[in-house]
């Protein structure tokens, strides 16, 4: 018998007050949702949880249910402040702890957001809307459609700006997708995530949100960007380009780094500081905001590495993929030159001849790919591999999908145009390797 049927048999469920006897000792507490099928778990009166093996429980009795702790948060928002819309997509940033049963759940209510950072009520009037509840690794292009539509519609209203609360894993993919899908954004849109969950008092979500709200309420920037910690200290956040930013650490607060780029601005709410680091950041223009939110699904991103076999490349041809982003080695190399690897070269040639657009980026992440420096690079250019300058592989992936989705006939041509600051003509010294 597993824990669920055991509890069912005794007409108990999480929240039930129980007394049980295990190995001759009596314990009382509240049943909490158990994590393993062989044990039931109690929250004891000390506040601690402990687990009891089903096989060791000789008796269990229920004494009713605990009253659910319900605290209604009263918040009075000041009127007359700039309005900011918060779009929730899910992710760590939406987690909230429930002490009565001790679980961490997702929460999207504006009250919970404000409870996390009450200071924002002095800066802006917050509206919140949930559009999905997924961890960001589960994002699909369908969600991009949804988010971009929400952004587009909100831009027709009188918001000062929009915050998109998003899981951090694929946050930069989404910000890139929105950078392409919403053309001429008329207001600041900041993607905000959380590396350390908001159920903890040390969460970075609070400072990221606070700085995002502060920046939006003061800035003349218009466009899609990311707002996250600058260092592992609280205080400074950086506003980063939607297309040239990458999550570079699994757990640090300052995981998001500009790649082949510098931050747009540095923000610190506590110091009333906004420091623009880019002179030519995009501002609101008279151009009409347009929504181009189709994304081609048959597109792949492939890391090239030693001992690559041609079957892998052939797979994309046989499955009729429309686009393939290669994350090449170094300046954009592929294992395709010596005798053992010639079959890879042939496979790539066949793939391109079949009509698939093949783009080269670099797994170095920092720097640019070149089609002419070495013979080996020239050979790839000869068969029609497109070299994507200093574009991030992930951004190239999103961009190619967007090009193929919205204008399949001119996809290649559009891919080579700079649409949302995704590549640079120059590589200045200030583009750091961090």
């Amino acid at each position: 018998m597993d824990a669920d049927s055991f509890l069912k048999k005794h007409k108990l469920s999480s929240g039930s007050k129980v007394e049980l006897i295990s190995k001759g000792e009596t314990f009382s507490g509240v049943l909490i949702p158990s994590l393993s099928p062989e044990t039931v778990q109690l929250k004891l009166s000390s506040g601690y949880n402990a687990g009891f093996k089903l096989s060791e429980i000789t008796s269990i009795k229920g004494f009713g249910e605990i009253k659910k702790e319900k605290t209604e948060l009263k918040i009075i928002q000041k009127k007359g402040l700039p309005k900011i819309l918060v779009l929730h997509t899910g992710g760590t940033i939406a987690s909230k702890v429930d002490y009565s049963l001790g679980g961490v759940t997702a929460s999207f209510a504006p009250e919970d957001l404000i409870a996390l950072v009450p200071e924002i009520t002095e800066l802006a009037e917050i509206e919140a809307k949930q559009i999905s509840n997924i961890m960001s690794e589960d994002m699909t292009f369908n969600y991009y459609k949804k988010i971009s539509k929400e952004l587009f519609e909100a831009m027709q209203k009188k918001y000062k700006g929009i915050i998109v609360a998003h899981g951090t894993d694929t946050l930069a993919y989404s910000s890139a997708a929105m950078s392409f899908a919403v053309e001429n954004a008329g207001m600041p849109v900041l993607f905000v995530g959380s590396q350390r969950s908001p159920d903890r008092p040390s969460t970075d979500a609070a400072e990221n949100l606070l700085n995002a709200v502060y920046f939006i309420s003061k800035t003349d920037f218009a466009g899609i960007a990311i707002c996250m910690h600058e260092t592992i200290s609280d205080g400074n956040a950086v506003i980063l380009s939607g297309t040239k930013t990458r999550k570079m650490h699994t757990s640090r607060r300052d995981a998001f780094k500009p790649i082949n780029d510098i931050p747009i601005a540095r923000v610190n709410y506590h110091k009333n500081l906004i420091e623009y680091l880019k002179n030519n950041y995009s501002k609101k223009s008279n151009k009409k905001t347009e929504l181009k939110n189709k994304f081609e699904e048959k597109i792949a991103l492939m890391k090239l590495r030693p001992n690559l076999l041609p079957e892998e490349i052939d797979f994309y041809r046989k499955q009729k993929y429309k686009g393939l982003i290669l994350e090449g080695t170094g300046m954009g190399h592929a294992p395709s030159n010596v005798k053992e690897n010639l079959s890879n070269y042939e496979a790539l040639k066949k793939l391109i001849n079949s009509g698939t657009i093949v783009v080269m980026t670099s797994q170095c992440i920092y720097g640019r790919v070149y089609s002419e420096v070495y013979t080996n690079l020239r050979r790839l250019a000869e068969i029609g591999v497109i070299f994507a300058e200093d574009m991030l592989p992930e951004t190239a992936f999103i961009k190619l999908s967007w090009c193929l989705g919205n204008n399949p006939k001119k996809a290649k041509e559009i891919f080579l145009q700079n649409i949302a600051g995704e590549f640079n003509e120059r590589t200045p010294y200030e583009f750091k390797v961090e």
Partner: protein, 628 residues
């Protein structure tokens, strides 16, 4: 003063926190406290989580904005991203877990079959995450002290907090070296009925911890909290008693305090005082002190209140050199950060003249029976402070003794710290899985539990043939289990015991940080000796250096010292040969021949070993020859 504890209804419970020297609980950093300059610094703001708040209004928002900033100091080589709350916890430290199981088994406590690491919310900054990771291991054990059974309520394994380096009004500076050191929290039921018994129980618990061989030593490595109550008094928690010898005195002082407060209450009732008598108006007195000699009041914002019919009582002694006024001052200090207050029972003094006292009395409309309190500072803070005083006086009238948490002071007195926190906010650590406890593992541990002191004595005397003196010392040593292991491996018991006892004491005199010497280090050192990497006679020298720099791997230390003992043994041979050849010279000139032979020895050994060492070896060999 002697009390009849039985009549008083004295009940004492202990909560002992023992640090373990097993490596940190949730990362692979060492358990070392450091005084050298930290090279990592970062800053954080902690905030109550959304679930903690009920309403957000102007006042709450103001509180929010006044929160302290926390600065953390770390070390690149001994603290990591886990302490910085920039990385999830690693799997729980197996050795620490084994040690706490041993402690639980030694006191017959029942270990849960599934352990669930919890997060206990703490937002004073001492934990970078804003919570302390804590796991309930076992309940319902017992220890026997002087034939009496004392129940053990709970045994918990948790992580220690960061230490405070500096405290400022706007920020606190913490050091991360202590954060994450495993702590065993050992809580007894309030079964203790005398101060002396409290001390004995604390000693017994300390001895249980030490017997595992994994208890960390040194200042602050064991901390006791006492729960003390008498009948009609209240349960008071005395936090952070570091000196075991003070425990009985602490209990006595708390009894004294509770009795004094109950007497005070009685006197207040006899004076027919009721709570509303203390709803006195808070009145500004600043203008009286413009020209004052008192530096606390001169040109400051000063407010005061009348305390009806309390003249003489504010000065009542509650503990040696602590008056009821001091109690009020410590509440003010804890709640506002102000340094203190002035009360009428201590005036005129501190530059306040009799004339000024009269003026205050008249402004506050005090009669000869009334007392007053004055506070200076910023207006808002003063109001909070004086309201806290009124609140406290009312509570004293109501209850006599208030149930609260108090800070243990070094002189065995105590001061108000905070009200006893209601049940802690806890939820499961979502980054860790529950820990399954196998019965088989516990049975294994049961078979190899640390010996009791009595068992050790028997073993050391009858089997190991230690002298009574050595056996007595060894049975109490933190290294006793290591000692037993080495003897079972065939080492000479007296040799090992002397090394671990006299050897280490000698080292401490030479400036070694012997608290840093772990069994693991000793084990490595013995291993190195076995493999001829160092010689026996330099083992202690290595320990001296290593204890000062325990982060250094042993092989690095060996090469750094430049007296890799392979060289040393080799050198000894060469020197022996030189000495042998010049035997006659030595017999003639005695120790004076050292300088003569030094040149030859240096020529042969130069660069391989340092000169000082050559000199030492030479002297030793010459001595040998002279003895012949």
């Amino acid at each position: 003063m002697e009390y009849d504890y039985f009549k008083l209804g004295l009940k004492v419970g202990l909560e002992v926190h023992q640090q373990l020297d097993t490596g940190k609980l949730f990362c692979s950093c060492p358990c070392i406290l450091r005084e050298d300059a930290p090279n990592i610094i970062f800053e954080r703001n902690l905030r109550p989580t959304a679930s903690e708040l009920n309403s957000i209004d102007e006042a709450a928002l103001n509180e929010f904005k006044k929160r302290k900033k926390f600065i953390y100091q770390g070390y690149a080589d001994s603290t990591c991203l886990v302490e910085a709350d920039c990385e999830p916890p690693h799997e729980i430290n197996k050795l620490a877990l084994k040690t706490v199981f041993e402690v639980a088994l030694m006191v017959n406590a029942k270990i849960f079959s599934e352990l669930i690491p919890m997060r206990k919310i703490v937002i004073d900054g001492s934990n970078t995450s804003g919570f302390q990771r804590t796991t309930l291991i076992a309940q319902n054990g017992e220890i026997i002290v002087n034939g009496k059974k004392i129940r053990v309520e709970a045994i918990v394994l948790e992580e220690d907090a960061s230490r405070i380096i500096e405290k400022h009004p706007e920020k606190i500076i913490y050091r991360l070296d202590r954060l994450g050191i495993p702590l065993i929290e050992f809580t007894t039921a309030p079964d203790i009925n005398s101060p002396e018994e409290a001390k004995l129980v604390a000693k017994e618990i300390g001895s249980i911890m030490r017997r595992t061989g994994k208890a960390k030593r040194g200042l602050g490595s064991i901390r006791q909290d006492l729960n003390v109550s008498i009948e009609n008094g209240a349960r008071v928690e005395l936090k952070g008693v570091q000196d075991l010898e003070l425990i009985d005195e602490m209990v006595k002082r708390e009894i004294q305090r509770q009795i004094a407060l109950l007497e005070l209450r009685k006197e207040m009732i006899e004076k027919k005082l009721i709570k509303t008598d203390f709803d006195s108006e808070i009145i500004e007195l600043s203008s009286l002190f413009n020209e004052s000699e008192c530096k606390f009041l001169k040109e400051k914002t000063v407010f005061g209140i009348k305390l009806k019919k309390l003249k003489g009582l504010i000065g009542k002694e509650v503990q040696p050199k602590r008056r009821f006024g001091t109690e009020l001052a410590s509440v003010v200090k804890a709640k506002t950060g102000l340094k203190g207050l002035l009360h009428s029972d201590e005036l005129p003094a501190y530059g306040v003249t009799e004339k000024e006292v009269k003026e205050v009395n008249s402004l506050l409309e005090c009669t000869h029976e009334d007392a007053f309190i004055m506070v200076s500072g910023e207006k808002e803070t003063i109001l909070t402070a004086l309201n806290a005083v009124i609140e406290r006086v009312k509570l004293t009238l109501d209850k006599g003794v208030v149930s609260e948490t108090r800070n243990a002071l070094e002189d065995a007195n105590s001061e108000y710290l905070r009200s006893i926190s209601s049940s802690a906010r806890m939820y499961p650590e979502t980054d860790l899985l529950p820990i399954n406890v196998e019965e088989k593992q516990l049975n294994e541990l049961k078979k190899n539990l640390p010996l009791t002191e009595k068992q050790r004595m028997e073993l050391y005397l009858s089997e190991f043939k230690l002298s009574e003196k050595l056996a007595n010392q060894m049975k109490l040593s933190n290294h006793a289990r290591f000692f037993e292991k080495k003897v079972s491996e065939g080492f000479n018991a007296t040799m090992i015991a002397s090394l671990l006892l006299d050897g280490l004491i000698g080292l401490k005199r030479k400036g070694a940080e012997t608290d840093n010497i772990s069994d693991k280090m000793l084990e490595e050192l013995f291993e190195a000796e076995k493999n001829n990497l160092i010689s026996k006679d330099v083992m202690l020298d290595f320990l001296l250096e290593w204890s000062k720099n325990p982060l250094l791997p042993l092989n690095e230390l060996i090469s750094k010292q430049g007296l890799n003992s392979m060289d040393s043994i080799e050198a000894e041979k060469i020197i022996k040969k030189i000495v042998e050849e010049k035997k006659d010279l030595i017999k003639q000139n005695g120790m004076r021949s050292v300088s003569a032979l030094m040149g030859e020895a240096m020529k042969q050994l130069k660069g391989k070993i340092d000169g000082k060492k050559i000199n030492e070896l030479l002297k030793k060999e010459i001595n040998e020859v002279m003895k012949q």
